[in-house]
């Protein structure tokens, strides 16, 4: 098991509690996510893994009754400090969702939307380049380069998901959050996404929530196991799947409770 010895923590979660109204969804989450690595979050449904993921780009802000305490630091900066610009944060932390959700616009416009609202491109030519590069990075360019003006919703499920990844990287984020990105895809499309995740790892820090333990084992370097809103165990993926420390982790990954 070769490990990058000088790992750098990109995201640090300190004592994060999340409440939905009166119900506590996350209990005192403390963890580190390392730069240029893939971190997988696993756990049964409703365990809080997605909730935690959505804390990292403050997507939970959208929900009125959601209250968060504790700190999440990205590059040492607490994103829950008062006065943090959520729009700037999300420029830095992209997100890909469970169900591919391309905008009902052309493929080109799907990618160009982010750069447009952030004013990243100075002119049309630059925008074209961003679109092309994003699609290339998402391994979709060759499949769609001749039909950039066709609606993004007309692509296959796997292509749509890669379009969403391209959309996420179009604004050049540092962290990409993926919320069960393959749960709606067939195995081939899943394999393509996993290959893509592998290739993106060198430039981005990736956090992926997945229900497929095999997928977590395949794509991630570190895995965190959540249960009932608590982080039960977080360790090297190898360790988790060969010999986890915690009995609960073992029971979950071996299919002994649901």
């Amino acid at each position: 098991m070769e490990l990058n010895m000088n790992r750098e923590a990109k995201v640090i979660s300190k004592n994060v509690d999340v409440f939905y109204g009166n119900k506590q969804a996350l209990f005192d989450i403390n963890l580190e996510i390392f730069k240029n690595e893939v971190t997988a979050l696993i756990g049964p449904s409703g365990c809080g893994k997605s909730t935690f993921l959505r804390c990292i780009n403050r997507m939970n802000d959208v929900i009125d009754i959601c209250k968060i305490s504790g700190e999440i630091e990205i590059d040492g900066f607490n994103i829950y400090k008062q006065g943090v610009d959520v729009v700037r944060l999300r420029e830095k932390v992209g997100m890909v969702f469970q169900k591919p959700n391309p905008f009902p616009k052309s493929i080109y416009d799907n990618i160009a939307y982010g750069p447009n609202i952030h004013g990243i491109a100075q002119n049309k030519q630059e925008l074209d380049e961003i679109v092309e590069n994003s699609l290339k990075k998402a391994a979709l360019w060759n499949e769609v380069k001749d039909r950039l003006n066709e609606p993004g919703t007309g692509l296959s499920g796997g292509q749509q998901q890669r379009l969403c990844i391209a959309r996420a990287i179009s604004i050049n984020p540092e962290i990409i959050l993926m919320d069960e990105p393959c749960s709606a895809l067939d195995p081939i499309a899943t394999a393509k996404i996993e290959e893509l995740i592998d290739s993106l790892k060198s430039s981005y820090t990736i956090v992926i929530v997945t229900h497929s333990m095999a997928q977590a084992a395949r794509v991630s370097q570190r895995t965190g196991f959540f249960h009932l809103g608590k982080l039960i165990e977080m360790d090297e993926t190898d360790k988790i799947f060969k010999n986890p420390n915690n009995k609960m982790t073992q029971d979950y990954i071996t299919g002994r409770f649901g």
């Binding site: 799947f241 060969k242 010999n243 073992q250 029971d251 071996t254 299919g255 002994r256 409770f257 649901g258």
Partner: protein
Amino acid sequence: MSDDHIVKSYDEELHIINDAIVQMGSLTESLLEDSMNAITKMDKDSVSKIVESDKKINKFRASIDEQIMTLLVKRSPVAIDLRLAISTLKISQDLERIGDLAKGNAKKILPLPEDDLPPEMLNSMRRLGEAVQKQIKLSLDSYLERSTEKAIQVVKDDEQVNDLTKISIKEVLDFLAKDKKNLEFATNLLFVSKNLERAGDHITRIAENVYYLISGDYPKKNK
């Protein structure tokens, strides 16, 4: 197996594999005993029985291989289940090798010596055999009870087996020096001692695998 899987048939498959190893182990254990008896008592007639039960052991090995393969395909086991699958595969392999060695030993007595053998030599041979039998019993117990202590004990006991092997070989060499007539038979006895030592090594590996199965790690060599 502490808790049950959500999928019951998964548990059943693991149980079947577990039982197969236990059966295969006890079969190997008695095969080893029979082969030691054949040697110390020069009982030529039991050889064919020993060959038969070695065949049985080989069949066990093949069937366990098959079951593990199916398990890997169907269940993609992880953690404890994965370790069980991998170590079971290895244990069955070692058991088969032990069976082969025991069978080989029994066959060695087929060309019977003309004279009586010196009792000291047979005694040291018997002591070696008993040590190996004790070792395999302990090793199988450690598997059955999932006991790391017993597994470590097996590893420790290997030293003793090695020492006993040295003594036994020395006795055979003495016997050989005294009586050149039994050259062929005495040479066979040398192989028997060596084979018993190798069986001991396989038993040690079984114990190591049991240790790995339980703890996810191999026992430290210098303990």
